[in-house]
């Protein structure tokens, strides 16, 4: 069993645990490289069928290529796609810096969708290597009734035994690819032939390493025009993956504040 096989097997184990132990699950689909891998893993775990809805909390500000990707593959992959909009920006905490405020809109949209469908589990494609507060996540991570993350009081996870009993009104975030790295995602995408959004590939010396909303995500300098070239680039680069994400850099604790409030 090679490295990618081991990652895949562990993610499938986590997805099956979530499906066995929670009543109303959804998978958050942000259309990016990580959540695409996650859907692929779900199809592997459940033999071709994703037995829960894919939820896209839509800011309305994604790139056109991303919407096209969503509409094509929701059909091709036979997903139960739910698209839910986010509330207007003026409903969001005005003390947050601009990009963080924009991201916080998404948290609000997520809360509305949770209330609407009554999900007790949300499967999310975050990874430990993306960002330092994500590195501290549990695989099954409880969220309060307001969607908040209590970093001071996370339940213990012994081995692969997860806590899966959220109190009424609360929900769990399940992180099946927490243990993957950016390079793992690309190597697996290549090996499995998972389709990607072309914005990840370099054009005119620029490419997106991480895809968010149009107004708060920026491309990085790169000539990597294929997955192989991306992998080579990742071997030598020391630029962090989220360098093009404005919200990470506004204040020292901007991202932590967002995550504590319920952001992914």
């Amino acid at each position: 069993m090679d490295h990618l096989d081991a990652l895949e097997a562990q993610s499938i184990f986590i997805l099956r645990e979530a499906f066995a132990r929670l009543k109303k699950l959804a998978l958050l689909w942000s259309l990016g490289k990580d959540s695409n891998v996650m859907i692929w893993l779900a199809r592997k775990a459940f033999f071709g069928r994703v037995p829960f809805p894919a939820l896209h909390v839509d800011t309305g500000k994604k790139f056109p290529e991303m919407y096209a990707f969503r509409d094509t593959y929701a059909k091709e992959w036979d997903l139960d796609l739910r698209v839910d909009p986010c509330p207007p920006i003026d409903s969001v905490d005005p003390t947050l810096p601009p990009a963080a405020r924009s991201a916080a809109r998404k948290t609000e949209g997520l809360k509305l969708a949770l209330a609407k469908y009554g999900f007790d589990g949300l499967i999310a494609g975050i990874r430990r290597d993306e960002e330092a507060t994500r590195a501290k996540e549990r695989v099954f991570s409880p969220r309060g009734t307001e969607g908040g993350w209590d970093v001071r009081d996370q339940p213990p996870e012994f081995w692969d035994q997860f806590n899966a009993s959220p109190p009424p009104g609360a929900h769990l975030r399940i992180h099946p690819i927490l243990h993957w790295t950016e390079a793992d995602i690309w190597a697996y995408t290549k090996r499995e032939g998972i389709p990607i959004i072309p914005l990840y590939l370099a054009q005119d010396g620029k490419r997106y390493r991480s895809l968010g909303d149009q107004d708060i995500t920026f491309p990085v300098d790169s000539n990597a025009a294929s997955i192989d070239e991306i992998l080579l680039e990742l071997e030598t680069t020391k630029v962090p993956e989220r360098a093009g994400r404005a919200l990470d850099h506004e204040t020292e604790d901007a991202f932590e504040r967002l995550r504590v409030a319920g952001y992914l």
Partner: protein, 636 residues
Amino acid sequence: MTIAVPPASLAADAVRPLVRIVIVGHVDHGKSTLVGRLLHETGSLPEGKLEMLKAVSARRGMPFEWSFLLDALQTERDQGITIDTTQIRFRTPSRDVVLIDAPGHAEFLRNMITGASQADGAVLIIDALEGVRDQTRRHGYLLQLLGIKQVAVVVNKMDRVEFSAARFGDISNEITAHLTSLGVTPTAVIPISAREGDGVAARTDNIAWYDGPTVVEAIDKLTPAQPLDALPLRLAVQAIYKFDDRRIVAGRIESGHLRAGDDIVIMPAGKIAKIKTVEGWPVTPLAGSFGAGRSVGITLDRELFVERGDVIGHAGTAPRDTRRLRARIFWLHDQPLTAGASVLVRLGTRETRANVVAIEKAVDPGDLASEAASEIKRNHVGEIDLSLSQPVAADPADSNPRTGRLVIEINGRIAGGGLVLSVDSGQRAATADIVPVESALLPGERAARYRHNGAVLWFTGLPGSGKTTIARALERRLFDRGGSPILLDGDTLRAGLNNDLGFSPADRAENIRRLAELAAHLAANGHVAIVAAVSPALADRAAARRIAGDRFREIYVATSADVCEQRDPKGHYAKARAGGLPNFTGIGNDYQPPTASELVLDTAGLSVSEAVGQVETMLAQTDVLIEDLADLAAHI
């Protein structure tokens, strides 16, 4: 300095082993600093990170602080402590490393466990100035409990003790002795200064007297987790999927291998089948053999009821099924775990209610002091005896680490966890050649005649406390009401069945075991076995309870030693005082009173018939005596 580390490459990924290591130790001994230094010296820091750390440190008016790299949370940076575990990757010359930084504070032990339970090896850090502390010992104990055998010790802050080889030697001896007593041999003990860099990637002049490995070299020698492929097959069933006309048993191979065509046994039910296909997606069915770690789906050659929690093994090497387990657990919950507690146990994918029959040992891993074993406090370790409401398939942890571990859940949250020490500990395994014969009678037939269920009544107490007197009176009382009591007196059995045994602790334990086996057999056949035996050792009586199971009732005749000696019905006290009975229990201090018996009788202020009455009441309340017929008779 920065050492040369080969760049990642896809081709190399297949051959470079990936190891997960956890860095543990007392708070402030320098875990996060060491991690920062390791990342820097192996060239693993992203661009701009060093500058960011300098800026963060400057903003707080502090000298440069490596730990800000991992202590990402505001509270962590503000208080200078690690609250939660974190994971980060780096590369040594021959390893890919996932480094797990775990908090040292006692109140964050659950986070340390969460991090450490994923690790193949550990680095235990000790401050050269402070030396070995409670938390150091506690972490050493937990590593052993989690099954981590590879531990490299680093003695940090050597700059604060002028790089003294003597100070290093003292700490090295102390921690080596501690770990060795736990069954863990340190792979290296390394003097370092994480802040200055000595001993991390290079042996500097400051530690010229040291000729062992650096931290990077020690990490480079750690090996990935034990090869589970070589053990017998254990497939933990997660679910049965029927999305189309296939009925797929889905789960993970915890150990061993499987392939289509294998003969399998589904435990705990013991049903037998053959694997028809190994299913997959997008290609199915799959050919070949699948080993430990794989998440698979299989179909069977016949329709059988298989469910989540079952464990699939190969015929001949399947796990035991049991309702009784002995386990060593680490307890994390605010409320102590007590004997008699009803809990939820998770063993693999099986979830079952369980009763804590007994707590046999409790230890504070900080000072290693054993405590009265009536409860296990938060952050303490204990050995417990569990009775499960459903049978489970399990292995002792030393024969299979994956199916030999469990967690305990309270109110939907994991409250503790640990290792299975023995399976079905009381009921010894029948060897293949022994086929126990079942009684011709159904259990209910005897109960209907005797108006009681089978039971073992275990009278314990000092010689002369009144055990035999009460036991005999009880025997008469139960017989007169139509029951089938049988007296098993310790001394009487020593005259025959046990006349090969002396009074050494081992012989005493064997004496009790035989008494318990005999009593349990009688109880299983509907009789009330009344055992009167000093049985001074807690552990021996716990073993008897395991053998007899739910039928066991312990009655402690708690008469004081003075009163017993005054009575001296057999003249033993007088003889012992005269030096004629060297191993006599009563005058020495070797009687260990029960901490949680079903009934306590003090015969100093109680008549024999009152004592028997109390026993009867207890038997009625614990469903041994069947009272409904008597009540009916009273109304006729």
